[in-house]
């Protein structure tokens, strides 16, 4: 489903969305007090930790939300923008920004907020940021090498740590909670206030933290829709109650020769295997991707009969069950594997081997191979499967 741009919301309308979310962003920052430079730098002198509280709460909220949406398969985390990691640029850039923060008292976003609420120092910071960016742009040829050094790609922190997305989210909830308690104590010490834990506050915040923990734990415990589907299919396979309809290879060849347009032949092997050989007219959807929404729309339709085949009969059978699970009744699993089909039709020797096949079958298969090749070539051009590959979203600040 998500992200909604560009399939559901157009790229043009996305600019309107930008204004709307920008308003929310600006409103939240101003309400938090980020338009005030003294409130911002309070973090570094211990008298006001608002920045840390707001920043951490926001980050963890979004993190938990993304984890939940991903689990519900409402958001495809494989295509959202992940800030790429160029290690040296990330560290050195961050260090320079840190210096800018303590000297200038803002970051770019907060300086815009300050400027919008009338702070002259906010305007000065925005102007300065413009100068700094100008210097960067003009000096780019000198910095270029540093910019692209140590490219680690779209590296995710939990992959780096070797844990799951959910586990990392859970850890961050607890880290944030600990940090909130810690900074509250420091803040009160610096301001010479006694730290008092009001019962009502504890209840209030515990509920908030509890909700986050419950959401993350739920995503850890409950299966995703794909897992649930596979589980059901496994159960059916194990109990043996469900056998897909089978199609013999000669029958398929015959049908394709005479009415290929009535059949939706689906190769569920990997793209590489498909490229090496596939039955003419077949489209390729790897088994692991079959349950995805964009593929389901290709197999659940009322016009054609599905015929699945794979590297093994089990693959074809499973694909049939996936299709059935999603509501398509008319499915067949090919009784032979892709390789068998290849050798039985397309790799026949020129002379009839003595005892392997009867003469009739041999002649039929020879003919079929020829005819299927022709049909395959003819339809390949007008009937290319629509390759719908979601591209990763471009984002970031640069």
């Amino acid at each position: 489903m998500g992200p909604l741009v560009p399939d559901i919301i157009s790229n043009e309308f996305n600019f309107i969305i930008a204004i709307i979310v920008g308003m929310g962003f600006g409103f939240a920052l101003e309400q938090a007090g980020f338009g005030s430079t003294r409130k911002l730098v309070g973090l570094f002198y211990g008298y006001d930790f608002t920045v840390l509280k707001v920043f951490f709460t926001a980050g963890v909220t979004a993190m938990v939300g993304i984890t939940a949406l991903n689990h519900l398969e409402l958001l495809d985390v494989d295509i959202i923008f992940i800030n790429p990691t160029f290690l040296w640029a990330a560290i050195i850039g961050g260090v320079i920004m840190g210096g800018g923060f303590i000297i200038g008292g803002f970051c770019p976003g907060t300086s815009v907020v300050a400027a919008a609420s009338g702070k002259i120092d906010g305007w000065a910071f925005v102007f300065g940021a413009g100068l700094g960016i100008f210097a960067f742009v003009e000096g780019y040829p000198l910095i270029k090498d540093l910019m692209v050094a140590e490219n680690l790609g779209d590296l995710l922190v939990f992959e780096m740590m070797g844990i799951s997305r959910e586990a990392f989210a859970l850890i961050m909830v607890f880290v944030a909670t600990g940090a909130f308690i810690g900074v509250t104590i420091i803040e009160n010490k610096v301001n010479n206030r006694a730290t008092r834990w009001l019962k009502s506050d504890i209840t209030k915040y515990s509920i908030g933290i509890g909700i986050a923990v419950v959401i993350v734990l739920t995503t850890m415990i409950t299966p995703t829709r794909a897992e649930l589907m596979n589980q059901r299919i496994d159960e059916k396979l194990a109990s043996g109650e469900c056998h897909p309809q089978l199609m013999e290879e000669d029958k398929l060849a015959y049908e394709l020769m005479h009415q290929y347009y009535q059949f939706n032949v689906i190769d569920v092997r990997s793209a590489e295997e498909y490229k090496k050989f596939h039955i003419p007219t077949a489209i390729n959807i790897p088994l692991e991707e079959l349950h995805k929404a964009e593929n389901i729309s290709l197999i659940v339709q009322n016009i054609k009969t599905n015929v699945f085949y794979g590297a093994s009969f089990e693959q074809a059978q499973r694909a049939c069950l996936v299709s059935k699970y999603h509501g398509k009744a008319d499915n067949y699993a090919l009784n032979s594997t892709a390789d068998e089909f290849n050798s039985n039709f397309f790799m026949l020797s020129d002379v009839q081997p003595d005892n392997k096949l009867d003469n009739e079958t041999y002649i039929f298969r020879k003919e079929a191979a020829q005819k299927l090749k022709e049909i395959g070539e003819a339809v390949a051009n007008l009937n290319k499967p629509v390759i719908k590959k979601a591209k990763r979203v471009q984002g970031g600040c640069s």
């Binding site: 979310v21 909220t61 050195i92």
Partner: protein, 177 residues
Amino acid sequence: MKEAPKKYMNPYLAGFFLGFVLLTTIYVTGRGLGASGAIKSFVVQTVETVAPQHAATTDYYITQKQNNPDGPLKSWLVFEVIGVIIGAFLSAVVSNRVTVKIEKGPGVKNGVRIAAAIFGGALFGFGSQLARGCTSGAALSGMAVMSFGGIITMMAIFGMAYAMAWFFRKLWINKVN
């Protein structure tokens, strides 16, 4: 005559609201929030207007033009920052916080504060381009999507600011009230 400014929102509530905005942004558009990129768009536009000759012959501007054929200002972040200005202004209005003033540490001269803001801004602007994002685009949005680079940048920003805090204390806490 003028009402006193209202209190700031509870930081956790504001943070939750901010996180919700960020989550919505990622769900709808597939990308996070940002700020410095919009300032860059203005810089590029300014150079293209003031010195078209220079922009036409320098690689960086040529690449920018290729990536943004409709002009640098027609970019997502520019629209988003227009929204930020509107949203921040509205928020300041409803909370009686719109005042034209220079905010600074106690005993700091206006000239010093403005010079420091410009210099700090320049450092931040430069660094944000190097790290491919600022506190919003790299640190906050990067943390939300669990990007390793974003989290590294976040730690570098705050780590450096803490390390330098003592040296610049006169800008902020020189005379304790």
